[in-house]
Symmetry: C2
Subunit: 697 residues, 2 copies
């Protein structure tokens, strides 16, 4: 190869450092923006404090969980510590801890900057859309850059320090553990606050959205940050690490255990993806009368184009079949874009589907629900066919490269799809920042014009958010297929080590009843997992609603808005925080325990089926829930914009019910399923050695 | 073997004849019951007429569809007619037609008797629960006996006349085609009428349920008959034939192409199941103060017990491993009962789940929906684990019998689960008869006491219906796994014939990207199919609501109930009928066309994955929709019984919205997915030979 190991590492390290430097620059830039409105700053301070409270508690609980997990990893993985190999077990445990810490730091910094950006964005909105957009976008970009920079740095660090790609699974599992807490916990938090604020405030008491009298209003804004900024960041951190790890585990097998071309391409492609995202972020701008949606989309197109060009150039440096790998990566990226567009078709209110659901609302809420469920179900088709086709094409493209390269091709498709993840996260984190800014503009009394600007920024955030969510789910799908390959690699490595090379897995036969058993059980898991999260939101919201009612009853002058009558915002934040962590743990444990059970019952064959069933039903439910939720949300907004009777009409009431149902679908359960799939796949891969030896059937 | 071919045939034929004789006896008995109330008889006459109108139209459209399908079968199946074998193609086409006709006749007679029984049941209810129960149950039993008798007779006929088990797939596909029309078409019909009658009548105009002024009221009652009696009958006819066919196709391969022990056991077990059902039906009785639910359950237990005893005795007649087959069949039956009990847990209003959903309704309709969706999702777990375990156990039990016996074991588990189908259909058809009787009692002014008796009968119908629905879905799941085996047998037979025995399939590897591609696409199909049906109900209901409003506006005196002011019931029946057929065809064509497309794209491997994905997501969605629907229905009834605020409260309004959402879930989409899965599996098996030769990847 023309490109040496060192050169690839240096490029990747430079890219990571560049990302951090640029992130610091943007963070400083955001901090320097004007921030003079006292009311806004006070409220923004409350939001910041609330987010910190949640993250502190979350990280404390997580530390306990991670401590136990690390101890178990040390005892059992990659093989029981009493069978020798203490060093390797210790390394694995440390890699796991590193995974949680890297993700936690990236999340913490991202959310810090996001919660600085919201107030400044609100204030800038008084001067027009151009400065406000830049603050919102750059605040989000800090999260994007931090996440992808940490990913790359972490993976390189583990590889360089341990020289053992299996350790990446530990690192990846650490990131997944954090993502489970951040995404599912944050998702329960944000929807608890949102639903309670709406029901107890808007519906029962008739006070407007974002009214400072509402005790849940700060929790609601905190939720945007912890659920959408930190949660989505951790989710994509997780997917990105998982796709790189899966690719590198397979690459290591292909390269004969050392760093060869297969591994280098993974690292190089990820590094080039990060560089492309930096360029894309750099180009994001908007005119005084421009559309923020267009601006966001344009920088995504720039990123995509630069990535394709850079990787094509890099491919020239490799001899032989490297263009096949390029093809696989390109197919992945292309399908990601297709999924994004399909999501947009089903959830954007300028397209027919949202209009149909809004129209159905005229016949009552049952029809809002029925039509939303129906179109949500139909919307899974393009994404699933896209993922299926891209996996098939990537596989067939790379198959001629030699045995084992086919599954590697699928992993590279996932790497390709996730290559622009820096840009995706930036776009996504933009959403909650401008959403918060809108709330602050309202609470700070910045006037109608400013709120209108903030509304326009917010609407772009919603559109882009739906697209990135589809993208995240697609990426998780491909990643987990790649993890299925990684699982096989792990099992075979164990078998070879045990001198049972003859039993090497060549695949999973679905007419094998053990595989089939695993498939059906695996398919049921995302259903139960997502249901537990939704019920968690439900339970938690009941508690918060009771608290809101109590405050309105017991705090004198609060309902009338007497000056000095302040609600106890912290109580609501406490309820959301404690409840979120309490409700998420059983769901997470359920998924992990059942994976281990299936492994002990049916061994590696059952796990193969289990992972497949889990992917299939996980994709189906995640796409359905995210899209139906987005559809209802925008359906409500469409009615509020004056269609089908407008605000206050029967159609509006029905659309609000649809939106309330959709909230935990799209912001709690749907996107958490991604994480659940990844967690389960990593648990399976990590325990591969144990399942080979211990199982009933 | 101790039991000769002739003896087994004779037993099976005698069982079928016995079923017909007993059905005729029961039909005559029902007809002889008192039927003197003129008002009731007039309305019952309208219902009967409406049902006939629907079935006439349905059968006309079906005849066209079947004609085209038969022509295509003649041209292409089992292999293109120009490659020789005209006789076989003609036999296949005729078998197909026979399948549609057998199912149609059974459905026609069943519904005829059911629509005689409803008026008589209403009148008997004036004298107490004992005589009314017997009429309701025996009216339903005619359907159960006709269906199972025709199944057995049809399968025996095809086998005896053609001596070729592959022809059974044609026969089975005929039954499936009819089931698709009956179940999906009937499902759209019944929910169109139900939803429209409720929305336009109860909600808009404030007239009570079953009020004769409502132009949709007759269509609503017709819907109970065509959707629930004829539809569910056709569905279980289809599952029963499919399970027998799958078992016999595999048995034929095991027996070396002639009728050996493996085939005999299938026929014998089915015959003994029918005999057990006859005995169970015979024992159904109730005391004056007894519980109809208990009476229905008891006869199911009798049937199950008798079946187990008879098959154990029969097993003694076979040498060797026959007890393994008995074990497989018993496991299937056992799991069917478990699924039924689990369904009951999630949908019965004496259990905690229904109460929780009713309680959630106090916070508004969004919570009714969210909690119902959540528990519906959780409810899939026991059934899916049960099916997975039973398939694994049946496989492992029969594996030692020799190569190929393992999949045969799964087919026998399906046969075992469906053995008591005669009893299941009887119980199920009882529901709509007593539901109709309740409506007739109300419309005929039979007084509060009679309505109370009818209510009690109706409530038992609802409970049992949920159980049988779970049972039907479980049976379809196992059957389709067996059909996967049949598909492999067919493919291998074609390959051997082509001299390509080396390519024989030994399984489907899910890490093969073609298989994986098929899996993801297959998983998306039930989602889209069910969504199309729900949207169909929605569209059709809009048309009917417009018609109801028109009648109330244009027919003088109708709204006030002036004597002589009659609504035009037939217009509503016409709308429901035409719309149902119009909406179902695209959904059915979508499922069939996509199966063929996947086969042409990825060949038999893609189809293997496609069938698996289809089963997995089909089971998930069917169980979810049926159980969530049942849960909402009973949640509403629980509130109406005076809990959580009772009738007219906010909780009641929310529960009604849940019920309206649940209606097309549980009576249109959920149970139609069964049929969709079977249709797709049969299309795949029939086209096996074509896909072997023609595919892109």
């Amino acid at each position: 190869m023309a490109l040496g190991v060192t050169a690839a590492y240096v490029i990747a390290l430079l890219a990571a450092i560049l990302a951090f430097v640029y992130a610091v620059y943007l963070a400083v830039w955001v901090k320097q923006q004007k921030n003079e409105n006292k009311t806004i700053e006070r409220i923004a301070g409350l939001i910041r404090e609330g987010a910190n409270t949640f993250m502190r508690k979350e990280y404390t609980v997580l530390a306990g969980f991670a401590g136990i997990a690390a101890a178990l990893i040390f005892l059992f993985l990659p093989k029981p510590v009493w069978q020798g190999g203490v060093d390797r077990n210790l390394t694995m445990a440390l890699s796991y801890i590193a995974g949680t810490i890297f993700s936690a730091i990236a999340g913490k910094i991202g959310i810090m900057v996001a919660s600085l950006a919201n107030a400044r964005c609100a204030e800038a909105a008084t001067k027009g859309i151009r400065p406000a957009f830049l603050i919102g976008f750059r605040g989000g970009a800090v999260m994007g850059l931090m996440v992808v920079g940490s990913c790359l740095l972490g993976v390189l660090g583990v590889l360089l320090l341990t020289g053992d790609s299996t350790m990446l699974l530990g690192f990846s599992f650490g990131a997944s553990s954090l993502a489970l807490f951040a995404k599912a916990g944050g998702g329960i938090f944000t929807k608890t606050a949102d639903v309670s604020a709406d029901l107890a405030g808007k519906v029962e008491l008739g006070i407007p959205e974002d009214d400072p009298r509402n005790p849940a209003v700060i929790a609601d804004n905190v939720g945007d940050n912890v659920g959408d900024v930190a949660g989505m960041g951790a989710d994509l951190f997780d997917s990105n690490i998982a796709s790189m790890s899966a690719a590198l585990v397979m690459a290591s097998a292909l390269d004969g255990g050392r760093l060869g071309n297969a591994s280098l391409m993974v690292i190089l492609y990820s590094a080039l993806g990060l560089i492309s995202s930096i360029i894309g972020i750099f180009t994001a701008r908007i005119n005084e009368h421009g559309s923020p949606t267009k601006a966001l989309n344009n920088s995504t197109y720039v990123t995509t184009g630069v990535f394709l060009a850079l990787t094509a150039l890099a491919t020239l440096l490799f001899k032989g079949f490297a263009w096949r790998v390029w093809g696989a990566s390109t197919v992945g990226l292309f399908v990601g874009v297709i999924i994004g567009l399909a999501t947009n078709y089903f959830t954007d209110d300028s397209r027919p589907i949202v209009k149909k659901v809004a129209h159905a609302s005229k016949s009552g809420p049952a029809f809002t629900i029925l039509s939303g469920v129906s179109y949500g179900l139909i919307s899974v088709m393009p994404a699933m066919v896209g993922i299926a086709l891209s996996a098939m094409v990537a596989y067939k493209l790379c198959e001629p490269m030699g045995p084992g390269y086919a599954m590697y091709g699928i992993a590279m498709a996932a790497v390709g799809m996730l290559s622009i993840v820096g840009m995706i996260i930036s776009n996504d984190a933009y959403g909650p920042i401008v959403d918060n800014a809108r709330g602050l503009a309202e609470m700070g009394g910045l006037g109608e014009d400013t709120i209108r600007v903030a509304d326009e920024l917010d609407s772009a955030g919603n559109t882009v958010k739906a697209v990135t969510k589809g993208f995240a789910i697609g990426a998780a799908g491909l990643t987990v297929i790649a993890l299925l390959g990684a699982f096989m690699s792990e099992v075979n490595a164990v078998l070879v080590e045990l001198g049972r090379a003859a039993e090497r897995l060549v695949g999973f036969d679905l007419t094998n009843p053990t595989v089939f058993f695993g498939t059906l059980v695996g398919a049921a898991v995302p259903a139960v997992f997502s249901a537990m999260l939704i019920l968690g939101v439900d339970k938690n919201a009941q508690r918060m609603i009771a608290e809101i009612r109590r405050q309105f009853k017991e705090i004198p002058g609060l309902a009338e808005g007497r000056p000095g009558a302040e609600p106890e915002y912290n109580k609501c934040i406490d309820i959301a925080t404690t409840g979120a962590l309490k409700e998420l743990i059983p769901a997470g444990m359920f998924a992990i325990v059942i994976t281990i059970l299936v492994g002990f019952i049916g061994g590696v064959n059952a796990i193969g089926g289990f992972l497949l069933g889990n992917i299939v039903s996980g994709l189906l439910l995640a796409l359905f829930m995210s899209n139906a939720g987005g559809l209802w949300d925008n359906g409500k907004k469409y009615v509020e914009a004056g269609h089908e009777g407008g605000k206050g009409s029967e159609a509006h009431k029905a659309a609000v019910i649809g939106d309330t149902v959709g909230d935990p679908f799209k912001d709690t359960a749907g996107p958490s399923i991604n994480t659940q799939i990844t967690v389960v796949s990593l648990v399976a891969s990590l325990l591969a050695g144990v399942f080979v030896n211990l199982h009933i059937f």
